[in-house]
Each structure stands twice: as structure tokens, then as C-alpha cells.
């Protein structure tokens, strides 16, 4: 019994260490955002200030980067979610001998270093768009190349999300609809797509976030433009300022709010589901008793 107690203590200590490693640096960084010295330091803590947030707000490069990041994120979602969905459906219909190669090609961007995706995107599209002066002037832009480069691996994430959901799709539903006279496109719009809705939502969220955070591919594909992450990288390279910590505080707060909301929603759903189940059971029992009653009285 004592050894089990020791074991539990050790596991607890290990989990504590793990999360200290995970959160420690972020907590330290958050503290530096509120400290006055020019060099971000957590200890010694001199005095409390919110100046770094003001400085961040006035940083024009950062704001322009943020705007571009949002545009690119939306563009990537617009390309990747449909492409991932189409690939997931084609995966189940494609000629069986080609399936292995198709899978390899669609998944390869996940195994390719992001640097290489960025380089190949720029080299290829530069030559393709240079065919005419007009296409070069209109389309050879950092934002567009970043969307193209990032979409290659974000689509692969989306494909995996859709494939995971599709394995749980009940083919009987499709057959029932077809027997009742629905056409295949109707099955797609009215049965398959509603079934895939949760996967679509998570593909959008994951796609946007991974586009927003990407550095390796973007730093090549963005050319002369900038995104929030490339601006950040430039600032970290030049030196360190607590304004970066202030930005981190904002991002961490948004994440925490998001995570807590998610948890609350999940718990409520759970509670509602439990309640509904309990009610159904009570109703069922009442019904059974009611139907049993006249039977016993007549007997």
C-alpha cells in the first residue's frame, strides 16, 4: 500500500514538472510585460506599468502584419477546407491502384520541412507568373504566395480531419436516401455535408490557427510583405523589448478565454445530455407502469 502511495506522489511530481516546463517560460514572459525596465526582465521586479501595451498598439509594422496575417488566414481556409474535403471524398472513389500514390502526394507536405515548401512555392510561381507582365504585376505578391504555400500543408491537415470523420459515416443513411429517390448531389448537400459539419468547423479553426502561426514557409513565401509572425521574428532578431511580451500576454489571454469557454460548453452539453437521458428513462418507466396498470386490473 505504501509503495502505491509513493508511486502516486512521484507521478504527481512528474506531472507538476512537465507543466512547469510547459508554462514556466510563458508565465515569466507575461511578468516581464508589466515590468518597467527596457530589457524584459521578471526579476528583480521594479514597478508595474502598462506602457508596453501602449507601445505595442502604436507599432505600425505589427498592426500591418496582423492585418496581413488575418487576410492570409482567411484565404488559406477558403482554399484548404474545400480542397481537403474534395480530396477526402475522392480518396474513397479513386482507382484503387492509384490510391497509395494519391495518399502519399496529399500527405507529403506534412512531412516536408516548411522551409522547403516555402522555397519551392516561390521558385515555381515566380516563373509561372512571369509568363506575362500583367500576371506578374497582379499576382506575384507575398500575400498570394503565402496563401498558396500554406494551403499545401493546411489542406493536408483538413484532409486528415475529414477522413477521420468519414470513417464513422453510416453508409446506410446514404443508401436510404438513394432508395427514396435522392440524387447523389442531394445526398452530398443534405446528408454528407451536415454530417461533416463538426469536422468543417474544426478544419476551419485548425487551418486558420496554423496559417496564423506559421513561420518557416511564410518567411520565404511572403517576399517583401510581412505577417505578424515575420514582424515578430525581425524584432526578436534585432533585440528584445517587453512590447513582445505584451503581445504574448494578449495571445495567451485570448487562448485561455477560448479554452475556458470550450470547457464550459462541453460541460453544459454533457449535463444537458445527462438530464435528457434521465428524463427519457423516467418517462419510459412511467409509460411502462401505465400500460401495465390496466393489464393487472383486468386480470
Amino acid at each position: 500500500m505504501k509503495s502505491a502511495w509513493v508511486m502516486r506522489g512521484m507521478i504527481g511530481f512528474y506531472i507538476f514538472l512537465f507543466f512547469a516546463y510547459l508554462f514556466g517560460p510563458l508565465i515569466v514572459m507575461s511578468i516581464t510585460a508589466f515590468n518597467t525596465p527596457n530589457y524584459p526582465q521578471a526579476y528583480p521586479f521594479e514597478s508595474f506599468t502598462l506602457n508596453w501595451f501602449v507601445k505595442l498598439w502604436n507599432d505600425r509594422a505589427m498592426m500591418e502584419g496582423l492585418r496581413n496575417s488575418i487576410i492570409i488566414g482567411l484565404g488559406v481556409v477558403a482554399v484548404s477546407v474545400p480542397a481537403g474535403l474534395a480530396a477526402a471524398i475522392i480518396m474513397s472513389q479513386i482507382y484503387h491502384r492509384a490510391r497509395g500514390l494519391f495518399y502519399l502526394v496529399t500527405i507529403s507536405p506534412l512531412l516536408t520541412p516548411g522551409v522547403i515548401i516555402g522555397i519551392s512555392t516561390v521558385i515555381f510561381w515566380k516563373d509561372v507568373l512571369s509568363i506575362t507582365d500583367v500576371t506578374k504585376a497582379v499576382f506575384y505578391k507575398g500575400i498570394i504566395l503565402a496563401i498558396l504555400g500554406q494551403s499545401s500543408f493546411v489542406s493536408a491537415y483538413c484532409l486528415l480531419i475529414f477522413m477521420a470523420r468519414l470513417t464513422r459515416f453510416d453508409r446506410a443513411q446514404e443508401e436510404a436516401a438513394l432508395d427514396l429517390g435522392a440524387s447523389y448531389p442531394q445526398v452530398f448537400w443534405h446528408i454528407l455535408l451536415p454530417f461533416l459539419k463538426p469536422a468543417v468547423v474544426s478544419a476551419i479553426v485548425i487551418g486558420f490557427l496554423s496559417s496564423f502561426e506559421n513561420y518557416n514557409t511564410t518567411t520565404f513565401a511572403i517576399l517583401a510583405d510581412k505577417t505578424l509572425v515575420t514582424v515578430l521574428a525581425g524584432q526578436v532578431r534585432q533585440g528584445t523589448t517587453p512590447a513582445l511580451s505584451a503581445l504574448a500576454v494578449i495571445i495567451i489571454s485570448i487562448s485561455l478565454v477560448g479554452a475556458i469557454t470550450y470547457e464550459v460548453i462541453k460541460r453544459r452539453e454533457q449535463a444537458r445530455a445527462d438530464l435528457a437521458q434521465r428524463r427519457a428513462k423516467i418517462a419510459e418507466r412511467a409509460e411502462v407502469e401505465a400500460s401495465a396498470l390496466p393489464a393487472t386490473s383486468s386480470a
Binding site: T32, R97, V105, V115, I116, S120, V236
Partner: protein
Amino acid sequence: MSSRLVVLFVPFVVIAAFWLMARYEARQRHDPTHKGYFERNGMLLGIMFIFLVSLWTLFLVALPYLYMVVESFHPTLRPLERGGPNDVLTLAQYESFFVAHTGEGMNKVHIGAFIFSILASIAVTALNFAICYPLAFYMAQSGTPQKVRLLMLALIVPYWVNEILRAFSLRLLLATKGLINNVMVAAGFIDTPIDFLGNNVGLYVGLSYAYLLVMIFPLYNAIESLDKNQIEAARDLGAPWWRIHKDVVIPYAKPGIASGCTMVFMLSAGSLAAPQFLGGPRTLWFTSVIYNFFFQNFNWARGSAYAFILLAACIALVMLMLRLFKISLGETIK
């Protein structure tokens, strides 16, 4: 220019070959219930699917990759010379990786950077496996569902903060003026600050920190489906805890372990942020070499060659490991 154009036809030839094979096979065993692609999806959706998938797989994946490989077999040229008489196929870019630019001896700087990146990535992969395995096992086998969900959330939240800021936060801890040194000097443990970044401690910590999540989820998924009774049985038969892991859990979770290790290795070998912001001043990471060819020397051909060397080496190493541990690639990517 011609070689560049020729390669663009390769994917179309492959597609045509598969299409002909499919036609041939369909004719061989005629199946009246079989429905054609457009019959199944309708004209509009069918065209839309094909358009989207070919945009992605051809124009965003296959063609750019092939084009980059072709570029690496071309000499370094000024923009005006492209397509001219000097634009021939050559192995010069690959030669320059091995031979020093003086023409004699090996290119020690770049080969050194390459070997260092690969070895350090392997070390980081091993480190992350050691750190993540116990937590993954705990979450998969002994945690209550509610606790596991909370732990998951706690794992994911730090990853909403981007790579650059995470590297920055580690720099605040490990720099000579950073928190750890400040506290240790103030407490009197050391007189002069330790240069964690200069001796690459920062680099290893940064890489490990960046890819913890990539290791833990595949491990968790693999161990989670292991039947608890198997562990119980092993325990009842008197197996000590380390044998349970060695003979029961790890063999079962092998695909998950392979997938986690592959991802962490590939991501570290290809990472750019941690080496740039946490590496010592004398440390040269291979992706930084590639980066410099693009942004300082504008030598795209040589950068492409180096990128291809990196990709080929990584794939070869992963394949070798999978072969060694007898796992197929299909099991790894799930």
C-alpha cells in the same frame, strides 16, 4: 528552359497512365452495377472536386517540388541569363556542398552544419520521447476522462502562442541577463552568468519545447487503445513495471511512437526559429545555411540543391528507422 518545362509534364503522364489502367481493368471485368465518377457525384460537384484536388496536389504540391528539384540541377545565373546558352543541366550545386569553394578539400562548414543538425535533431527526438512517454501513458491508462480532458486543454493552450514568441520566452529565461542567471547570481550560487545560449543549451531546450505536443498526441492515441487487461495480466503474472512497458506497452504502441518520433525529427531538422533565436553565435543550423543562400546571396539554385539534400537525407533516415523497427509508412501517418 526546356528541362524545366519537360518536368512539368511528369505528373500528367503519371495520371494518364493510371487512367488508362483503370479503363483497361474496368473493361476486363465488366460490372453493370458500377457507376462512373460523374454519374456518382453529378456533373457540377464532380468537376468541382477534380478542380480543387488538382489545384492542390498538382499546383501546390507536385509541380513546385519537381520544379525545385530541377532548379537545383541548374547553374547559378543572373536573371537575364536564364534560358540563355549558359542555362544547362549541371551537378555543380551538389558538388559545392561536398567540395570547398577553393577547390581543394571538403566543404567542412556546410557538411559540419548538416551533420550537426541531423545529430541534434535525433538527440531532441530521443529527449522528447523520454519526457512525453510517462505523461502519455498516464493520460491514456490511469487518468479519469475528466482529468484527461483538462490535461489535454492545458497541453494545447501554450501552443496557441506562436513559435517565435515561445523561443523569445525561453530566451528571457536562459540569456546571460535572463531570469535563471539573475536568480542564481543573486542567490550566490555562481559569480558570473552561464552562457546557456552560447553553448547550445538554449537550442536543445528550444527545439524540445517547440515539439512536445507533436510527440505526446501520437503516443497518447496509440497507448489509449491498449486493453487495460493486458497490463493487468502482465502484472498478475509478476512482471516488474519496466518489463510491462518493454514487452507489452511499447511493442503495442510502436506505430504511435514511430509517428511521434518521425514528426519531431522532421520538424526539428527543418526548424528555423529555434536555431535562429536560441542557437549560439558559432552554431550553424542547416536550414539557416539554406536561408542565407536565399536572402543574402540570392543563390536560388544552390539553396534548392541544399534543400533537396536535406529532404532526401531526412526521408532516407526516417525510412531506415521504420525498416529497422519493422513498421510500414502507412501505419505511421494516421
